[in-house]
């Protein structure tokens, strides 16, 4: 068997004998993915129940209820008739409904004349988004009434003389108006970004980063025990040792990422798109881990120092790259900073794949960026490793 494979096989056996490698590479990311899937089951979509207290019983109140029950709002809103304001307040307070709209007595009459009237929205501080949607819907409904009133007032303001007949004529003409700007909903054919689809690769990559520390520590342990010197005494080139160790990290990384992605697809319904694209991302990411490991080994002087550098890299990159938080929810500056990290690019690739983006560029750009990052750190490792050789 080629020495490269012997060294890689030995390293892998050593790693898997220590249960921590199995915990970090497989158990932990899968446990978190399962937790995410269970916690956010049904929470990936938004739906509000809005109570309606109809104290008016007029035609405009009926039209409002019809508006909430309309086909456009069927997926977002459930309308629940509520008998009185006290009950509505209680239901909003205990979270049974997100908000309630109270239609006051005489609303229909007042709305068709020029006096002031209002719908009252009851909200809770614990349902901010539900309250915003409910308010938007109510405002949307009354906006046509207000637009008609404003149209009459504007026309009257521009008219040379105003009589009762003119007002009646303009009011009648305005009844048939429609706001000239309408909204047309058009889908873009994407899949929703589920929590499990984001956090399973995010956590798999985060735990894969721990391989940097383990590999670096095992190198220093072998150096301290004279194992590296004994290998050097054998007819094995230093490059062979290096490649063997790198290969063990690549195999471990691919196995870890691949298992997590496969299990989340089979068990939790995550979509990953083209398997070749997924494989390219996984391979690129493990290459980055190898480069970072080489960098840590080259820069550190002791196993304790390597622990320190590894911890900085693991948590620095994970925080910046978006492994702990959904980076798409972050401000634009943080999204840009995430693209300074290989994991940030990998997560962008996984997000694009899971949301249904197509084309070679979907993974080509992340893979090139991750490989460029790897090349920079591999080069730095080469520069610093001269110091290691001299040492």
């Amino acid at each position: 068997m080629p020495p490269v494979l012997v060294i890689a096989g030995k390293d892998l056996r050593q790693r898997f004998r220590d249960r921590s490698a199995i915990v970090l590479g497989f158990v932990a990311p899968l446990a978190i993915a399962a937790l995410m899937s269970f916690a956010f089951r049904g929470a990936d979509t938004f739906h509000v129940t809005i109570g309606v207290v109809d104290r008016d019983h007029g035609p405009i109140a009926a039209a409002f209820t019809g508006f909430l029950l309309g086909p456009d709002l069927r997926g977002i809103v459930t309308e629940r008739p509520v008998t009185d304001v006290t009950t509505a307040r209680r239901l909003v307070h205990d979270g049974t409904i997100a908000a309630a709209i109270v239609i006051p007595p005489g609303f229909s009459t007042a709305a068709t004349r020029s006096g002031n009237t209002r719908l009252v929205e009851l909200t809770s501080v614990n349902s901010r988004l539900g309250g915003e949607v409910s308010r938007s819907l109510a405002e949307s409904f009354v906006s046509q009434v207000n637009a008609d009133r404003l149209s009459v007032a504007t026309a009257l303001s521009g008219a040379s003389g105003t009589t009762a007949g003119t007002v009646a004529q303009l009011t009648a003409a305005a009844e048939h108006l429609r706001v000239p700007e309408s909204v047309v909903n058009r889908p873009i054919g994407s899949r929703p970004l589920k929590a499990v689809s984001y956090y399973s690769p995010a956590m798999a990559i985060f735990f894969l980063f721990f391989a940097i520390g383990f590999t670096a520590r095992s190198f220093y342990s072998e150096l301290r025990d004279g194992m590296i010197d004994r290998i050097a005494a054998a007819p094995v080139r230093p490059a062979t040792v290096l490649f063997g160790k790198a290969l063990s990290v690549v195999v471990y990384g691919i196995a870890s990422l691949g298992t997590v992605l496969l299990c989340t697809a089979l068990l939790f319904g995550a979509h990953w798109g083209n398997p070749l694209s997924v494989a390219a991302l996984c391979l690129a990411m493990t290459t980055a881990v190898v480069a970072l490991t080489a960098f840590v080994i080259a820069v550190a002087r002791t196993d304790r120092q390597s622990d320190g550098f590894s911890a900085l890299i693991v948590f620095g990159l994970s925080l910046l790259g978006g492994n702990f938080v959904t980076i798409s929810a972050a401000p634009p500056l943080m999204r840009r900073l995430a693209l300074l990290t290989p994991n940030g690019w990998a997560l962008r690739g996984f997000v694009d794949l899971t949301t249904g983006a197509r084309g070679a560029a979907v993974v080509l750009q992340p893979v090139v960026a991750i490989l460029a990052f790897s090349a920079v750190f591999a080069s730095l490792a080469v520069v610093f490793s001269r110091r290691l050789v001299i040492r």
Binding site: G75, E121, S143, Q144, A153, P331, V351
Partner: protein, 386 residues
């Protein structure tokens, strides 16, 4: 005195350890900054807009969208880049104002404004409903100007200015909002969310990972050497417990201090907050010491501890409010001490709670701490006496 000497020796080793200081001081602050800045943006819909017209009416609509309640507006130069942002969930809806919109509206014709969003995605549909409301209100002025021009003649722009002026002072059908409660069940947004949750998360994780130090001490034979001196196992146990408690307390106070001074977090009633910090430090102490006696190698401790800490933090509401998950997950979450600690911080920060308001949470936390400490100290004493 012997107890303090043991604790002092361990504390000096930790202070000299830059890696430990990174986890105790730097990492929690970094996480508070990042999570705080992200959580600060929730509660509104992020909406993208591509204005292909750039006329005065289009810009006016953009202005209305930018200043609407419940909308954070982001501008995109092309529909393709906006669609990509929508697909990646960077925005919840994309609005495209078509070219020639201004001219069409001025000539009395209608304009269809495209709102991109999946029909099956309720979050996107809700954002579109909010956008539609703003567009309807904005369109009222255009309708009025166009109507006035048709009815009485004159210039569209003049009528538009009149409509804008009249809109502010005219009688209307309004929507008034009344809140039925003022006390929230969730932590405030921004740093007031991230600071207390990260305090709970990191004090616990750090304590668990600190179990590795106890394993190293055991492996190096330092306990054996201590026992060779006139030192009893009980004194070693107390010394270890004291130093773990001290670390957890110092880390908590650092997070509280940085949160208050740098991020302006108001930690609520000082007496209640102090009681909560001490209770949580005791929970961390028990968990860390138990990890030190359960795991056999430092590697196991440093790898399994963060995993256990993160999972318990997720279950307990440190990563997201338990209000947004189902009731089953909320119940499961309260199997962890984290959920009780987050509940207590919520009572202090969101409801101006006092000591009496978090008494039940504190009692549960102290029960957790007692169980963990009894288990850990008895295991350690048994190991030392063996």
């Amino acid at each position: 005195m012997t107890v303090l000497a043991i604790a002092g020796s361990r504390a000096r080793r930790i202070v000299r350890d830059r890696l430990a200081l990174f986890f105790i001081v730097v990492l929690p602050v970094l996480v508070i900054v990042i999570i705080g800045s992200i959580v600060g943006g929730t509660g509104t819909f992020r909406v993208g807009v591509v204005d292909r017209d750039r006329g005065p009416l289009s810009l006016s609509l953009e202005h209305d969208l930018a200043h609407a309640r419940g909308i954070d507006l982001f501008r995109y130069h092309s529909v393709a880049s906006g669609k990509t942002a929508l697909r990646r969930s960077e925005i919840s809806a994309l609005v495209e104002i078509p070219a020639g919109a201004d001219a069409r509206l001025r000539s009395g014709r209608t304009v269809a404004i495209v709102a991109y969003g999946e029909r099956a995605n309720s979050d996107q549909q809700s954002a579109i409903a909010t956008v539609s409301s703003v567009i309807a209100v904005s369109g009222a002025r255009v309708q009025a100007a166009s109507f006035a021009q048709q009815q009485v003649g004159g210039d569209f722009t003049t009528h538009l200015a009149t409509a804008a002026r009249l809109e502010a002072g005219s009688s209307s059908v309004a929507v008034a909002t009344r809140s039925v409660d003022s006390k929230s069940n969730v932590l405030p947004r921004g740093f007031s969310y991230s600071a207390p949750t990260m305090l709970v998360l990191f004090v616990f994780i750090n304590a668990l990972a600190g179990g590795a130090a106890m394993i190293w001490t055991r492996q190096l034979g330092m306990y054996d050497r201590m026992l060779a001196a006139p030192v009893s196992p009980r004194q070693i146990v107390f010394g270890e417990t004291f130093v773990y408690f001290l670390i957890a307390l110092v880390q908590s106070l650092l997070i509280v201090g940085v949160g208050a001074v740098v991020f302006g977090v108001h930690w609520g009633d000082p007496v209640a907050a102090a009681a909560l910090i001490v209770s949580w430090a005791l929970v961390g102490t028990g968990a860390g010491m138990l990890a030190g006696t359960v795991f056999s190698t430092p590697e196991q401790s440093t790898s399994i501890a963060p995993t256990v800490g993160i999972v318990m933090g997720m279950l307990g509401g440190c990563m997201w409010p338990l209000e947004i998950v189902g009731s089953t997950m909320r119940t499961i979450g309260h199997v962890t001490p984290h959920a009780w600690a987050v509940d207590a911080w919520t009572a202090l920060l969101s409801r101006n709670g006092r000591l009496v308001d978090i008494a039940r949470d504190l009692a549960v936390l102290l029960a957790f701490a007692a169980a963990l400490l009894v288990a850990a100290t008895s295991r350690l004493r048994r190991a030392l006496s063996a």
